[in-house]
C-alpha cells in the first residue's frame, strides 16, 4: 500500500475495488477447469489477488470460460454471462475459445467465442498453468485501470448482433432478449 496506490484509491475507489476483488463464477465449462482448483488452494493461492470462486453468477464479476465451448455449453455460458451484475469481465481460458484450438474442425464446438459473448482477455495455452492465470489477472488489472475492459459495454451496445449470432448457432433461445429493443 505505497503512496501512489493510496492516491489511486482516493481518486477512484470504485475502480480500485473492482480491480482487487474479482470473484470468479465457479462454472466448469470445459477441460480448463482442472487448473482452477490448484490456483485457489495452498500452492498458488488466488485469494492473494482477491480472486475467489463465487457460488452464483449474481455474486461474481469475473467469468473464466475454461476450455473448449461445445454448443450445449454455449447456451449455459450465455445465460450465466447475462445474469452477472453489470461491471463484469470475461476471460477466455486456453486456445480453444480463441480460435477453436485442437477442435478447429470439430462439428460440435464453436470456434470464436467472442462472436457470441464479449471477451475482455485471453490466456493462450492448451490448459495454461495457474501462473498464467495470475498473469492474466494482473493484465486485467491494467485493462480495468485504463477502462479498456469494456466487454459489458460492448455487449450492451452491440446486443442485437450478439443475439443474432447466438440464435444463428443455437436456434431459438428459451429466455427473452436481455436488452429489449425499446
Amino acid at each position: 500500500m505505497d503512496r501512489n496506490q493510496l492516491i489511486k484509491w482516493i481518486e477512484a475507489p470504485a475502480k480500485m475495488a473492482h480491480k482487487y476483488s474479482l470473484h470468479a463464477v465457479y462454472f466448469c465449462t470445459g477441460c480448463g477447469i482442472i487448473e482452477i482448483p490448484p490456483a485457489i488452494t495452498a500452492r498458488w493461492d488466488a485469494e492473494r489477488f482477491g480472486v475467489l470462486p463465487a457460488a452464483t453468477p449474481r455474486h461474481a464479476n469475473l467469468f473464466l470460460i475454461t476450455g473448449y465451448v461445445s454448443l450445449k455449453t454455449l447456451r449455459a455460458i450465455i445465460r450465466t454471462y447475462e445474469q452477472m451484475p453489470e461491471p463484469k469481465y470475461s476471460v477466455g481460458f486456453g486456445s480453444c475459445p480463441i480460435n477453436g484450438g485442437m477442435y478447429w474442425d470439430s462439428y460440435n464446438t464453436i470456434k470464436h467465442l467472442d462472436r457470441y459473448i464479449p471477451i475482455d482477455g485471453w490466456i493462450a495455452g492448451c490448459m495454461p498453468r495457474p501462473e498464467a492465470i495470475f498473469v492474466a489477472v494482473t493484465h486485467l488489472w491494467t485493462l480495468i485501470e485504463k477502462d479498456m475492459a469494456d466487454g459489458y459495454k460492448r455487449y450492451r451496445v452491440h446486443y442485437s448482433e450478439y443475439r443474432a449470432n447466438q440464435e444463428r448457432i443455437l436456434g431459438a433461445l428459451e429466455w427473452p432478449p436481455l436488452f429489449p429493443k425499446e
Binding site: 452464483t56 453468477p57 450465466t80 453489470e86 427473452p176
Partner: protein, 618 residues
Amino acid sequence: MNLNILLMIAVGGSVVTYLLSSISERIRDAFAILVTLAVAVAVAMLYGRTSEVTLWAGFLGNPLLLRIGPISWLFAMTVSAIGCLSVVFSLKYMRGRERNGFYYAMLLLVQAAMLGVTLSGDLLSLFIFWEIMSWSTFLLISFNGGTALAAGMKYFVMSITGSLAMLVGVVFVLVSFNTLEISTVAFALSSAPPGYLWAVFLLFGLAFAVKSAIWPFHPWLPPAHSEAPSPFSAVLSGVLIKMGFFGLLVLMYVLIGRNDFLSLGWEVLPLHTILGVIGAVTILLPTFIALLQTDAKRLLAWSTVAQAGYIILGISFGTALGLAGGMLHFLSHATFKALLFMVAGAVEYRTGGIRDLNSLGGLIKRMPVTFAAALVGACGLIGVPLTNGFVSKWLIYKTLILEGSPFLAFVALIGTWGTILYSYKFLHNIFLGQLPQNLTSVEPAPFSMRVPMVVLMAVVVLFGVLPGIPLTVIDEIGVTLGFSALDVAPWGIVSESGVVNMLNISTAVVVSVLVAWLIFWAGKSGERVDQADSYAAGAAVPEGRYQYSMHFCDPLRRMVTPWLTDRVDAFYMGLTVWFTDVSDGLRRFYTGYVGHYVMYVVLFLSALIFVELLWSPW
C-alpha cells in the same frame, strides 16, 4: 341506551335479516351491516359506565340480569367490532351462494349470543346465551355440508358435554346458595368451604375449557375452523374462543375471587401452576403440529390452539402484569388471527377455492394488498416489534421470568420460534416464490374484502406502537378484579417491575430502518426482473416446476412427526368407538319377543324380594 334494548336490536336484527333475504340480497346485506355497526357503536358508547337491567323477573324467583362493567365492555367491544368486520367481509364472499340468508341470520345470532354472554349478570342468563351461541355455531360450522357436517358434529358433542357440566354447575349453585346473581354468589362462595370452590371451578371450568380449546379439549377446533366458511372462521377463531377465556376470567377472579383462587390446590402444586403447565403444553404441541399442515386454514386453526396457550399462561399467574399480558394477548390475537383468516378467505375466494399450500405461490404479484395484510398478520402472530403481538408476549415473558418460572418462559419462547416457522410457511407458500401458470389471471381481492383487512392492519400496528390505549382498559379490569394497578402511559407501562417502553423500541427500529434504507439507497440501483430471470445453473427457469413448497421444512418435519401423534384426539375417537360397542351390546337386550320382557319383570321382582329378605333395607 340500556342493555336489553341493545340485546333486542342484536337478536331482532338476525331475525329481520333472515326475513329480508327472501325480498332482495342487497337490502339484506345493507341491513346486516347497519345492525352490526349500530351494535358496535352502541357498545362503544357504553364505555366506562356500569349499569344493570333486569331482563325478565320470572324464573323461580331469580331475575335474569344484564350488567356491564370493564371486563364485559372489553369483550363486548371486541365481539361487536370483529363481528361487524366479518359481516362486511362476507358480503362478496357469500355472494351467489345458496342459503346465504340463513348464513347471515346465524352469523348475527352468534354475535348477539356472544354479546349476551358478555353482558349477562347472572349464571342462568349466562347459560342461556351460552347454549344459543353453541348451537348457532354448530349450524354455521356445518354450513358447507359434506366433511363440515362431521366437523360440526365433533364440535357439537364436545360443547354439549361442556354445557351439561355448566347446567349441573348452575343447579349446584342454585341449590347450595339459592341465588344465581354473580356478585352474591361470589360473596357466598368466599365464605364457603374449599369443596364448594373446587366443585364450581371444575363444573364451570370444563365448559369454558372446551370452548377455549385448551390442550385436553382442543380436538374439535382444527376441523371446525377449516370447514367453516372463512368469514365465520375469522369470528370463530378471533372471538368465539375468547368467550371461553371470558368465562375462565369471570370464574377465576370474580366468582372464586383472586386470593381464594391463588390459594386453591395443594401447597406444592397450586391450581394456577397446573393451569400454567397446561397453557405451556397447549403452546408447544400445536405449534409443531401446525407446521405439518398443508391446508392454509387448518394451519391457522392449529395456531389458534397454540396462541390460546399464551392467554392461559398470562391469566393463570395472578399478577397484575400477567393479567395485563394475557388480556392484551387475547385482544391482539383476536385482531391478527381474524386478519389472517380473512387473508386465507380472500385467497380462497379469488383462486376458486384453492386452500392447499402446495399448489399456490407467487400471489404477491396478483394480490398485493392481501399480501400486506398477511405480512402484518404474520408479524403480529410472531410478535415482531411495532405490532401488538410483541407487547402482549413481552408482558407474558416478563411475568414468567420475574415470577421465577423459567421453564414455562422457555416453552413460551420456543413456541414463538415455532410460530415463525409455520407463519413463514403460510406467507411463503401462498404469496412468495414462483407464480404458477394457472394463477396468472387472479385479480386482487375485492374492495369489500380489503376494507376489513386494512382496518385490522391499522389496529394491529396502532396497538403495537401505542399499547397504552388497550392497556388503560385492561388496567381498569385489573383494578376491579383486585389486582394492583399498573400506571400506564400511552407508549407502555411505566411501573418499575413491568417497564416496557414501546416508544423507545419503535423509534430504535424506525431509525435503524432509515439508516439501512440510506445505505441501500447509496448503492447502485438494481434492474427490475420478473420470476423467469432467476439463477438456474445456466439453464432457463423451468416453467411451473421451480417452486419449493412441498414439505416446506422437511428435515424438521421428519424428526418431529413421530412425537406428534395427537393422542388426545385418538383417545376421544377410542372413547366413541368403545361407546358404540357398549350401546350395541345393550341393544341386544331388547329382543322384541314379549316373553323375554315378562321374564325380565319377574326376575327383577324376585331380585327385590331376595334383597328384602336378606338385608331388609326398607
